[in-house]
Amino acid sequence: MIRFFLNFFIPHHTNNYRAKLLHHESLLLVILIFFFGAFTLNYVSKAFPSVLGISSDITVSDLLNLTNQKRAENGLPPLSIDQRLSNAASGKAQNMFAENYWAHISPGGTTPWSFIRSAGYSYVYAGENLAKGFTNSQDVINAWMASPSHRKNVLSNSYNNVGFSVQTGRLSGEDTVLVVEMFGSVSEPQATATISGEDKKLVEMAAISQQEKQPVSEPEKQASNPALLTQIPVHNSNKNTPTIKGNSVMGSVKTPPKVNSGMLTKNLALIVISSFIFILTMDLIFVKRKRIVRAVGHNVDHILFFSLMILLIIIFTRGLVI
């Protein structure tokens, strides 16, 4: 029995001094299994979404606790859940799935602040963090804390409320889990926060709209410092203001599937590719020791290629934040 299995992994006279799994027919079989498996899993996830599909262990309570834990570690007061911000986050997540975009501003120009206003939250300061493709709350918070602009949102003293939405759906042609975190305050903040990247553009754009439209409480402050993560409410009608539907406020309301297809395929692929690296390495060692001469490809080439594959699978399946 052991010899039978070793036949697949170790070069031996019974397998012509080349592990059985490295023979052409075995490689072809693995390729066919992967292609067939991909179609089968795709079919099952569509026909039986309660059995197989994208799911996560992300919960609003975990996100809130972890956010407040990070704030406590930095000597900041905790944020409290505001139902209106959670409604806004839910509306934003639904809009991202409906209009198929992964950005702070929708293709139609709808800003996060529109969702917050639509939810009835008259903010003085507001901010938004987005994440997708994560499977647990800790990874989401870690990714936000690793990004300077998101970290500033989490650790900003300008906010006293927060709202979350965790929703699964199809975005850019793939099933994924979206996490929307909306920050806000309705009273004067104790300090200011700085931001960078896309958020800065949002603030600058908002500052322009202030000048064009309504005078507000502190326009000079906002216009003079575009790095402030400050959103002052505009008291005019906004044609891009979305209507918030549904009430999935405190997280995903869908029943999660029994098997997470994303984790299943990722882990299977990593196991198979790692096994091939192991087999090729063993083959290399045995052939060197036994001084066997064969007309085959270079194992080092294949090991390097498979190593790249492992890194790419990890990169392709990791979560993203913006």
Binding site: L27, A38, H298, F305, L312
Partner: protein, 90 residues
Amino acid sequence: MYKKIQNHLGYYISLIAMLALSLLLAILASGNKDLQITIFILTAIFYVIWGILHHLLNHDLTSKIVIEYVLIGALGISTIFFVFMGGKGV
């Protein structure tokens, strides 16, 4: 083995450079699934061509070796296909 690697140092440097470039491009294409898949397929094709050329220049190319590189490249593509289509419903 070390002597063998030394003799093929130029080939391996070019292979590692190509794989590193592929990794960098995949990181830069984060969030763009189609581009990431395209980058990987091009890398796999380049790998097969590189492997065949390597053996051709070393005068030890056989049809069996060509098939082996093609199968390894196809295995890479099928694995990525499995991860995306099976796991994410692409």
